[in-house]
Structures are given as C-alpha cells and as structure tokens.
Amino acid sequence: MKKGSIIFTISLALLLVSAAGAAAQDLYFGGYVRNNTGVLIDDDLDFSHVQNTFDLKAEYYGDISELKSEVFINQTDTDDIEIGIKELYVDIFFDSMDLRVGKQQIIWGKADGVFITDVISPKDLSDFVLPDFDEVRMGVTALKADYYTSALDFELVWIPTFTPAVMPETGTIWEVSTPLPSLPTINVPSDTLENSEVFGKVSYMGSAIDIELMGGYMWDDLPAAYQDAGMFADYHRVTMAGGSFSTDIAGLIVRGEGAYYNGKNFTVQASPVTTVEKDFVNYMVGLDYSLAGFTLGTQFIQEIVLDYDDRIMLNDEFKNTMTFVVAKPFLNDTLLLEFFSYVGLSNEDSLLRPKVTYDLADGLEWILGADIFLGDEGDFGQYDDNDLVYTKLKYSF
C-alpha cells in the first residue's frame, strides 16, 4: 500500500470515528507513545534498533454496535516512517450473536509465546519473535461471527484474501539462514473468492475445564520452494484440525493445545529442488503455578512431520522445544521482574529474555531487558551473534 493511500485510509477512519463520536458523545481515544532502543552486545555496540512509536486507538460505542480502530506510526533510526492500521472494524451485537467485520487480530489457543492453533492472524516476523505479541500478529480483513448458547460458543471466520507471514528481510540481522541455492521468487495466491480461508471453532468455558475445538481450510503461512527455470516458492492449501484445554488441578493450571495439518508442503533436497506433501503435528502441554507471589510456568512443544522424508530441508522429523517463565512483582506491582526462555531441545539452542518493568507513574513505564541467544543452529542458535539489550519508555494515555 502506498504511503499516500495509507494516510488517506487512516484519515478517513479517524474522520468517521470523530463524526460518529461528535454525534453521540460515546467516543474513546487512547493509545501510547513509546521509544524502543536496542544495542547489540558486540565489540562495536551497534544499535539493533531505535524506534519511536505513536499508537492511537479510537472507539465509538453505539447502541448495538461498536467501531474500533487502532493506527500506528513507527519512526526508525534511519528516519523511515511506517504508518499502518493495526485494526479497523465494526462490531454488531445481538442477543446471542456477535458480528465483527473489518481488519482485526484473531487469537486462538492456550499456548504462550508459540503458535499452534493460533493460525488466523499471520505473523510479522521481521524482528523474529522479539516485539510485543500484539505487534507480531497482524490484523487481517475478516468476517467473524460468534453464536452463543448457554454452554457453548460457536465461532466462524471468513478471510476473503490471503495474507502471508512477513519474514525477516535479507540483509537484516534477523535474516533466516537458508540452504536453498538461491533466493526464490515467491508466488502469492491471487485475490479470488476461491482462494479465501475459512475457520471454525467451538468453545466451552466451565468450572472444571475450558475447551476449544477448531478447524480451518487455509493457506500455509510459509511457502515451500522448488526449482524450475529458477528458484520459486509457492504457498499451499492446508487443512487444520485442533483443540486446546485449560484446567485448574489443586492450584496447578494444566494447559494443552494441539493441531493436525493435513497435506503441508515441505521443500526437499533433490535435483531439482522440489516439494513433498506430508501431514504435520504440532502440540504443547504446559503447567502454571503461583507460589509466594512468584508466577511460574513451563511448556513442552513438539513438532512432528509424519511419514518423514529424509530429504526434507528445513524441518527435522521431530523438533522439541521448552519454555520457562518466572515472574514476580515488587513494590505493590510498580516493579515487575520477568524471565522468559525458549530452550530448543533438538538443536541445543535457546533464547533467554530477562526483563524489568518499572512504573514511574500511572501509565508511564520503563522497561530494561535483554535477549540472549545461545547455540550454533536452530531457531534461536542461528542468531547467536544477535544478543542485545534494550530499553523502552512507554507512556499510555
């Protein structure tokens, strides 16, 4: 989208919201201003990023409807300015049904920090998984309908046009190492009705347990590469079925989430490079506990390529990962110490994420953190040279 049309869209959205608000006085504005500066821990102490962000939420509340928009402006150290719409949608509420139409983030699943059944909103992995998760997940234009009974909630999502995940750009420090002989030309499915995506979910929240069952007929967010007259990569259709649960057993939260992908395409090492279709399983089991003011949590995540073909290039047959989190607030919640870590069991790599958050005043927080990559290969080990410390100053209004 050209910058001019983005500005026009944002201006139009704000104008609509303002006009609606002026009529009804049911208008809310909020958002934040944030500076985010990171320094690589290397000999030169290069800046990994210097970014200023202005985020503005505008909401209008009607009798049976709501209009919500969230726009952002990012200004980086190179004076590049990125303007975008995080969300822009209308909610319509009925007695037993809600409709949401427009650009929106849709989040499914019970896992923290990993994506298993959370497959609707594509991910912006330009800076790996380091930004806040509401910035990693991109909004998509969708129609979402929820129907509620006394026991069950039914959700149906239709996404007319496919939006792929955003991968790190070549030449940046987050560039993904690839064994392909050359960078592929990526073919994106055309915007036709036939290429739209459909998702469905049934969920139950009760005293004993929370359960979700879901499925989707969608596009795989990541393309598979093949060799023809050059290197190309195509996105492929995939069918997903999954579920998740969460329950409290004597104060211990037990969570689980799993997804089965039928017909996922993988790139295989051959001459020429080609693709192969395999079924794929991704699941997580996790525990959370609270002890003496500490929040403790761990997750085990496994990915399995069924009927594995040894020639598959980017995926092993099994990939095992664990996550750990420890957090404790101090000074009546004005100081929060957190330590989140990913540990790759298959490649013996990890990402350690210590963080200190201090509330200088209501709505004004200062964050000091580090992202430490360990290992030689794997999702985290490939970034062993990218250890960084960062600071964020954020004012919410």
Binding site: I106, I107, G251, L252, D288, D333, A361, D362, G363
Partner: protein, 259 residues
C-alpha cells in the same frame, strides 16, 4: 392485669432465653452468620482504589464490577477502567458455597486472550493494592477454626471479636481477628497476621449503610503496616437487585469489555 403480668414475664423470660442463646453463640456460628448474611441477588458498582505508599505518593485504579448469586455460588466480573495501560483488562471469578477452590480467569487485551489463572494465586495482591485476591472474596467458614475472644464496641456498634485460624497450615495468614457487628453480621474491622504470626495489616470500615435493605460497605481502608502502604477502597453507583443477566459472567463479556 393478670394477663398483662403473664405477658410481661413471658417476654422477659423470652428475652433472657434469647440473650442466653446469643451469649452462647460460637465463633463458628458468628462467621457462618457473616458468610450467610444476605447481600442481595446481585450488586454492581464502580470501585476506586487509591494506593498510597510510604512516601505519600498515590496511584488510582478504577474498576466496574458486577456480582451475582447463583444459589450457594457467586460469580463476579471486573472491568478495569483506569489507569490507561490496564484499560479493558477484565477479571472473572466463580466462588462456590461448598468450599471448592474458586475458578478465576483474566482477559489481557494486549494478548487478546482469556487465561485461566491458578487458584493458588489467591495470595497474590490485587492490582498492586493491599488486598489479596482472597481478601476480596468470601472465605468459606469451614476452612478455618473460629473462636470468640471477647466482645467490644467499635464505632458505637457492639461486636464479637473472633479469631480465625486456618485449618491449612500453608495458608498465608497465620490468623485473622475480625470484629463482627452483633445481629447485623458484617465485619467492622479485621487484623491479619502473616505466616510468622507477625502483625501484617488491618482493614477498617469507614462507612457502612443499607441499600435496598442490604448492608454494603461503600468505603474501607487496608493499611499494611509491614510495607507502610495503604489502599482506600471506595464504592460508588451501587445498585442492588437490578437484575444482572447470567450471560454477564462469560468469556464473551470479558472480551467485549465495559463501555
């Protein structure tokens, strides 16, 4: 005349019997009366918490809350309104009359996700206040052993002074002492002692009144002596028995938020 005398004697005897019975009331019965005191079918209010630290600086949290009785069980949903960085966060708890652990969920708007949180987190402090999640709920009297220590008058109200010791040795309060207003069965004051039986904090009631025939506490204050930190809790726009829908206490409403 003879009939009148008989009536007077009967009334005196009845009063003596009732007085005797009341004098014999046990700590367990007092706390059961507190637990079973009618609070109305539902209540909604705006809750403002003013947190003051030892240096005198203050922070303010504002919450819109809805509570409804479901037989012996109770459901509560809270929508955080201020400060701005927690706006649209919501918290829901379901408490059970049979003493079963509460079910608790939190909706975090930044993650757009409702998470079940551990009932073991009841010892955690709520939004940086001096109230734990447990303090904000109704603790079932069967979880503690209760003993009347004495009777005292507080703010002109005759009170039973009841000591409650948890049957669970791992409970985060070694004991609490509650001043319960006779016959009205609401607490006027409560002292909390930590796991080492050191004095921790005191809850005092600044205002109490009846709304639609039910006692409510529009203003109370918790002072944590160990931290020299105070939380003033004020309720406004109190409505009792307005008929909150059952569907208010659902994930749908947690995620929709309050307008």
């Amino acid at each position: 005349m003879k009939k009148t005398k008989v009536l007077i004697i009967s009334l005196i005897l009845m009063a003596m019997v009732l007085g005797f019975a009341q004098a014999q009331i046990t700590g367990q019965e007092v706390m059961e009366n507190v637990y079973n005191r009618p609070t109305g079918p539902d209540i909604q209010s705006t809750l403002t918490m003013t947190l003051t630290n030892s240096r005198g600086s203050t922070r303010v949290r504002e919450i819109k809350q809805f509570i409804k009785e479901f037989g012996d069980d109770e459901k509560k949903i809270m929508f955080f309104v201020a400060p701005s960085d927690v706006k649209n966060t919501s918290f829901m708890s379901w408490s059970y009359g049979d003493g079963q652990d509460d079910d608790m969920w939190i909706y975090l708007p930044a993650l757009k996700k409702t998470k079940r949180i551990s009932s073991s987190s009841k010892s955690d402090y709520f939004m940086g206040s001096d109230f734990t999640y447990d303090d904000l709920g109704e603790r079932h009297p069967s979880l503690d052993t209760h003993k009347i220590l004495r009777e005292e008058t507080v703010n002109g109200e005759d009170c039973y002074v009841v000591e409650s010791v948890s049957k669970d040795s791992d409970y985060f309060y070694a004991r609490t002492i509650t001043w319960v207003v006779k016959d009205e069965w609401f607490g006027m004051k409560r002292e909390f002692y930590d796991e080492d039986d050191e004095f921790l904090k005191i809850l005092t009631i600044n205002e109490y009144k009846k709304v639609n025939g039910y006692w409510v506490i529009p203003e109370m204050e918790m002072y944590n002596e160990q931290k020299d930190h105070t939380t003033l809790m004020q309720l406004d726009d109190i409505k009792i028995g307005d008929g909150i829908k059952d569907s208010q206490f659902t994930e749908r409403m947690m995620e929709r938020g309050i307008r």
